[in-house]
Every structure is written in structure tokens, then in C-alpha cells.
């Protein structure tokens, strides 16, 4: 008890020490973006150029938009167009600005029992997996990646149900861990896959279909709805993210010699 | 010192627990001065009577009156339990505790407690955890602690049960001294020898009732009831 009391002031001092000097703002982003490692390249540059410390809340797309809708972050960076537009229509944000895209891939056991590797399109690959009833791990968490996956099942004309379809309700990394453990197929974003370090017996089996492109958009939270949001900082950040410097850094970011993201912001 | 809270008057008090009468009806006066000893066989109600007088038991019937309102007597009476209750602290802190409760500073209370401990022969053990001292020492500690507020009445429930003769003598000496200083002592004992040595008055209990109340000399010379006679004789047989 005495010791706890003695440590309390130290503990409280540690809190005050975390209060920064420069301006800080909060941005909710998807796990796939944060896990790619791109954030660690961009954030220090943003701080250097604009003086803004961007604090990331790394969550699923659903929660990322929810945090914005509750006014708990200043801006949102996600990749799920339909959900974003619904969110904007509800008056939660000012506008939607496309920043960059990466792509999704189909990963699975090296032996590829469903033959996804030789499929012509992403939808065909999905159909092959369903036909083979090969184990498939789904995020199942209402994330942008999950929504993209469901769109492809629809395109393949398959209702994904049954023992082979395992919705884990977790983030990309956790889902990849599960797939590695089960030697199952999984739909992943390329960035998380490349930086994922527990690949076990899994391999990249299908890629390149334009249907797999994954557009990231920047959505500032509405200052009309929440006057406390840091709209000016959000604007500054948007300007930086669409700048030539951002283009250079985003296009130049590589993992294992592969480019992950394609900058495609248009100047206004 | 004249005990201002005495006499204590018991008027037809009864204790019932789980529907069973364990004490009473008992009516008696406890007058100031001297040592009154409760005798009687096991289960005759000695402990219950002492606890009732001290206010530890809820009365099922009857009433109990001090000379002053009961609330004013609380800190002016004390109780020593048959198996001593010691706080998990040092000997000196145990003895000082009643004074700490009264708001005295720790330092002053400890000084007085140390002096009291010296008197009862615990002077060497002041800093010892009270949990680890012997049974006789614990009983002395409980007695010293009970005397700290210089109570006007001190109740003791068989304070010498399970003690060796020497520890018993020590305790008897302390009690005599306290009585001489004006503290009224009311205690129970199984030991007729101890009763003879200490008592001015005897209360003899049987089956929850006081069946004989007499000065000590008269009681031991000529017990009036057959139960008391049997008790004393039984006790005297080897």
C-alpha cells in the first residue's frame, strides 16, 4: 500500500509527460493500412512538414467510421466505398477524397487443392474454392476487406456457407494467423500479407484482377456536427496526403521488393 | 476512587437463544468495591451473565441499569475474555490500543502502555508480535489492556483457565492491586481455591439462575444450597 502510494505521483507524472507540445489530431484507419507499415513511413514526414502529430486508431472499417460518426476522431482513412458514401449521406463528414489504392489477393495452401491459381478471374477463383469445399477463412468483421470479399462471392454466384467457410470476426493479421493454422484459403490485402511474418504453408495464389483493386479514401469528420474536431489540421493533412511528396513516398514504399500502394489522388 | 457508574442493577434479565433459555431470570445488584466471583458448574450461565452485564448480549427479557446512562459507562468498564483476543500487532500496541481509540497520540499511549506492561511482567516483550507470545502472556496482555482506561468495573471470564500456577499467581496479584485501587472486579472461575483467595462475595449459579449470593466467608463455611455444597465438595475431592 505504501509503495503504491509512493508510486502514484510518478504514475501521474507519466501522464502529463505524454501531452505533446505540437498539435495532435486523431485519425481512425483500417488495420490493413496500419499493418502494412506505410504509416510508419508517412507519419514522421507529416510531423516534420506540417507540425501535426497524427495519432492513429487502428480498427476495422466499421469501427473506424463509427468513431468518426461519434466525433471521437478528426478524420477517417478507410477503403469501403459503399459504407463511406452512406456515412457521408448521414452527415458525418465533409467530403470523400481518394488517396491511393492497393489490391487484394487470394492466399491459400501451397498445394492449392481448389486450383485457384489457374483461375481466369477473381470470381472464378472464389467459385473454384467453393466447389472444392476447401477451408476458407473470412474476416467476418464487417471490415472493408470483408465487404470486398462478400462482393466477390456474389460475383461468383456463391452463397458462402458450410463447414468449409470459417468467419473468424477478427482483424487481418489474426485471420491470417488462423488461415496459417488451418492451411486454409483467405482473402487478404497485399500489404498485410507481405509484411505478415507467420506465413507457414500459405502462398499467394491469385492476383491482378482489377476487381481486386482497393481504393483508400480520406474522410474528414464534419465540423458542423462536431465543432470540436480539428478541421484545419484535417485540411492540412489532406493537402499533404495529396501532395507530390506523398505520391513519391506512397509509390516508393516497398516490401520484399514489391510496390504495395498506388497513389491516385487528383489535384482539386 | 468511588465507582460512579455503580451500582449495576439487574432486574429479571433473561437470555434465550434459539428458543432455549440459557440465563435467568436473574435479579441482582453489583455494588462498588471489592471482588465478586461467579461460581457454578459448566453451562450454568457464568459467561452469559458476565457478557450480559457488559452489554455484549441482547436481553430477551428484563432490564439492566447502571447508575448513569449506559452509553456513559461503555469506556468505563472492561472485559477480559476466557481465550484472550489479541490484535495482530506488537504487545505494546495491543496494550496501548484503548487509549488510541480515545484519541491519545500514539507516542503517549505507547509510553503509558509500556509502563503498564512492565507492571504485569511483559516489559521484555514490548515489541514482540502478540500472536507469538504464550497463553499466560496473552492473558496478562489482555488484562493490562483492559486496565488501560482505569475502568470502574472489570469483568473477567475465567482468566486463569489453562494457566500454570505461577501465571495464575501473577494475575491474582494484578487483580488484587486493581481492586485495592478501587476497580470493582467481577469474575468467574472454576477454581474454588482462587475464589477463596480473592473473593469478597460469591454468586453461585446453577442452570442459568443465581441460586446463592453470599459473602465469601459465609459461602465457603456453610453453603446454603445442596448444589453449592456438592460443587464445593466435589471440587475439594482429589
Amino acid at each position: 500500500m505504501k509503495l503504491v502510494k509512493a508510486l502514484l505521483p510518478i504514475a501521474l507524472a507519466a501522464f502529463t509527460a505524454t501531452a505533446g507540445l505540437a498539435e495532435t489530431m486523431k485519425m481512425s484507419v483500417t488495420t490493413s493500412f496500419a499493418n502494412s507499415g506505410l504509416a510508419e513511413v508517412l507519419l514522421p514526414e507529416i510531423e516534420k512538414d506540417t507540425g501535426i502529430t497524427v495519432e492513429l486508431l487502428v480498427v476495422g472499417t466499421g469501427q473506424a467510421l463509427e468513431l468518426g460518426a461519434n466525433g471521437d476522431v478528426d478524420t477517417v482513412l478507410v477503403h469501403s466505398r459503399a459504407a463511406e458514401e452512406k456515412w457521408l449521406a448521414e452527415g458525418n463528414g465533409t467530403h470523400r477524397r481518394e488517396i491511393m489504392y492497393n489490391d487484394f489477393i487470394v492466399v491459400g495452401p501451397a498445394a492449392d487443392p481448389a486450383g485457384a491459381h489457374s483461375a481466369a478471374t477473381a470470381a472464378d477463383a472464389f467459385a473454384a474454392i467453393a466447389t472444392a469445399q476447401a477451408p476458407f477463412v473470412s474476416r467476418g468483421d464487417d471490415s472493408g476487406t470483408h465487404k470486398a470479399e462478400l462482393k466477390l462471392w456474389k460475383a461468383a454466384g456463391v452463397e458462402p456457407t458450410g463447414d468449409w467457410y470459417k468467419a473468424v470476426g477478427q482483424g487481418m493479421g489474426a485471420a491470417l494467423n488462423t488461415a496459417a493454422g488451418l492451411d486454409a484459403y483467405i482473402f487478404s490485402d497485399r500489404a498485410t500479407w507481405l509484411s505478415f511474418e507467420n506465413k507457414a504453408g500459405l502462398e499467394l495464389l491469385f492476383e491482378g484482377d482489377p476487381a481486386l483493386f482497393n481504393q483508400y479514401a480520406y474522410l474528414p469528420v464534419s465540423p458542423t456536427k462536431y465543432p470540436h474536431v480539428k478541421a484545419a489540421a484535417a485540411e492540412q493533412l489532406e493537402a499533404w496526403l495529396t501532395s507530390d511528396k506523398a505520391k513519391e513516398l506512397i509509390n516508393g514504399y516497398q516490401i520484399a521488393g514489391q510496390q504495395l500502394f498506388n497513389f491516385n489522388a487528383t489535384s482539386e | 476512587m468511588v465507582a460512579a457508574i455503580l451500582p449495576l442493577v439487574l432486574d429479571e434479565i433473561v437470555l434465550r437463544r434459539q428458543g432455549r433459555r440459557i440465563l435467568g431470570p436473574v435479579s441482582l445488584n453489583v455494588e462498588a468495591g471489592g471482588i465478586t466471583i461467579l461460581m457454578g458448574p459448566n453451562g450454568s450461565g457464568k459467561t452469559s451473565l458476565l457478557r450480559a452485564m457488559h452489554g455484549l448480549e441482547r436481553l430477551s427479557a428484563g432490564s439492566l441499569h447502571w447508575r448513569v446512562p449506559e452509553i456513559e459507562t461503555r469506556a468505563r468498564q472492561a472485559f477480559v475474555f476466557q481465550s484472550p483476543i489479541v490484535l495482530r500487532r506488537s504487545v505494546v500496541d495491543n496494550i496501548a490500543y484503548p487509549l488510541i481509540l480515545d484519541g491519545m497520540s500514539r507516542k503517549a499511549a505507547r509510553a503509558l502502555a509500556a509502563a503498564r506492561a512492565e507492571e504485569v511482567g511483559l516489559g521484555e516483550l514490548l515489541g514482540r508480535p502478540a500472536q507469538v507470545i504464550s497463553g499466560g502472556e496473552k492473558q496478562k496482555l489482555a488484562l493490562a489492556r483492559a486496565l488501560m482506561r482505569e475502568p470502574e468495573v472489570l469483568f473477567l471470564d475465567e482468566p486463569c483457565a489453562n494457566l500454570d500456577p505461577r501465571a495464575m499467581r501473577d494475575i491474582e496479584t494484578i487483580l488484587r492491586k486493581a481492586a485495592d485501587a478501587g476497580t470493582k472486579i467481577v469474575m468467574s472461575t472454576h477454581d474454588s481455591g482462587q475464589a477463596r483467595r480473592l473473593a469478597q462475595d460469591i454468586l453461585f449459579l446453577c442452570d442459568g439462575r443465581v441460586i446463592e449470593a453470599a459473602p465469601s466467608d459465609a459461602f465457603f463455611a456453610l453453603p446454603k444450597t445442596p448444589e453449592a455444597r456438592a460443587h464445593i465438595n466435589g471440587d475439594l475431592l482429589p
Partner: protein, 234 residues
């Protein structure tokens, strides 16, 4: 097995080199958990003692609620605190969401029932010993509680340490209310969850070893600091 060895090696390397990131998140873990433990103890210990000593009408109910709250999933507590402190919530204006303060609040809610419940059991046993004496000495209610808390301090320390143990390893609630923000609200447990998500098992394990070592060190420090070891013969 290989992951575990790698984890141990990684933990050793980061501790030896005083890796700044490790130091930062460890410090915050300690700050949040010790604060929560201190606050939960200030509430839970007297509460447990009060319940042990006093017979009041709702006593059974309070004990039942405490025991039920011990089983409360941290995620639920996290959501509750989030909804409370969200900008659109009733306490949103305080701006406490995604701060260490919010994490402390969540942990206090999680561990206070544990501290109070263990304290209640410990004090109840001591009260059975002390009851007649304290009544006889005419100790007031607060004096009784004071004596029980002081003399029962070793058992109560155990109650506090149980709370500490639960808090330091907690991840569900503080992930939600803290947000696991790098350099701001990232602590050992949320960092472990993050690294596990990235498939970085050796780093996650390394952080896990640091967490265990920390918990052991705090327990030992408090035991020796309050000299409960020496007084264990009491």
C-alpha cells in the same frame, strides 16, 4: 518452441539495450495499472471491510453484485466507458477518450469488485476474531474498520495485488478506450495484441515476457517494501 526461444532472446535484447519503445510502453503500462490499482484499493478495501463488518439490508445483494461484476468481460466495460466518454456520449465534453485517464477508469471498474471481494473475505475472518474485543472496547464503526484494515493489511495487500495482476494483463477494455495509439496510449498488452496481429510472434512473446517479469517484480517489491514477508509469522 522456436518462437518461445526467439521471444526470450528478443525480450533480453530489448531490455538490455533499453529499447526506447519498450521503455515507453512499459512505463505507461505501469503508470496506468498502478494508478488503477491504487484507486481501486482506496475504494475496494474499505468497501470490502464495510460489508464484512456491517449488517445492512442490501448486504447480500451488494455481495452478489460484487461477485457478479468479477466475471464482467473487460470488453463490456470498455464499451461502457467508451460510450460514456465518446464525444457523442454524456461525458464527451471532458475529452478523456483515448487518454490514459480513460484507461485507468476502465481498469478501476474492472478490478474494484475483485479487490473488494477478496478484502471482504479476508476482513470477515479477522472480524470473527476481533468482534467481541472491539465491541467491548467500544470502538466506533470507523475505528473498527481502521483496525481491521490495518491488522489485515497483509491479506489486503493480496487483494490489491490480485487487482494489479488482473489490470496489468488486461487488453480488451483498454484497447477500446485507449485506442492503442502509438506514443500515447499503447501499453504492453495492446502492443502484444498488435504484434500478434502482424504475425510478429517473437516480438509479441518478448513483450509477454517483459509483462510477466514486471508483474513478478512488482509483487516482490511490494512484499518486501511493506515487509510482509518478515511479518508472515504473525
Amino acid at each position: 518452441m522456436n518462437d518461445i526461444l526467439l521471444g526470450l532472446a528478443e525480450a533480453a535484447r530489448r531490455v538490455v539495450t533499453l529499447d526506447p519503445d519498450l521503455v515507453e510502453i512499459t512505463r505507461l503500462s505501469m503508470a496506468v495499472t498502478l494508478s488503477a490499482t491504487a484507486i481501486a484499493s482506496l475504494i475496494g478495501l474499505p468497501l470490502g471491510a464495510w460489508i464484512a463488518v456491517h449488517r445492512f439490508r442490501a448486504r447480500r445483494l451488494v455481495i452478489a453484485i460484487l461477485n457478479a461484476l468479477m466475471g464482467l468481460p473487460p470488453v463490456v466495460v470498455g464499451l461502457f466507458v467508451y460510450v460514456l466518454f465518446s464525444r457523442s456520449g454524456p461525458l464527451g465534453v471532458l475529452g478523456l477518450l483515448f487518454t490514459p485517464t480513460a484507461m485507468v477508469i476502465a481498469q478501476v471498474i474492472i478490478i474494484t469488485p475483485i479487490v473488494a471481494s477478496i478484502a471482504h473475505q479476508a476482513v470477515r475472518d479477522l472480524w470473527a476474531d476481533y468482534h467481541d474485543l472491539l465491541i467491548s472496547l467500544h470502538a466506533s464503526r470507523w475505528q473498527r474498520i481502521g483496525a481491521l484494515l490495518w491488522d489485515g493489511r497483509r491479506a489486503l495487500m493480496t487483494a490489491s495485488l490480485a487487482g494489479f495482476g488482473r489490470a496489468i494483463g488486461e487488453v480488451g477494455a483498454i484497447m477500446i478506450v485507449g485506442g492503442n495509439i502509438d506514443h500515447s496510449t499503447r501499453v504492453l498488452t495492446t502492443a502484444i495484441a498488435l504484434e500478434t496481429g502482424k504475425g510478429n510472434f517473437d516480438l509479441a512473446l518478448a513483450l509477454g515476457f517483459v509483462l510477466i517479469a514486471l508483474a513478478v517484480l512488482v509483487n516482490l517489491a511490494i512484499h518486501y517494501g511493506t515487509r510482509t514477508e518478515r511479518s508472515s509469522r504473525w
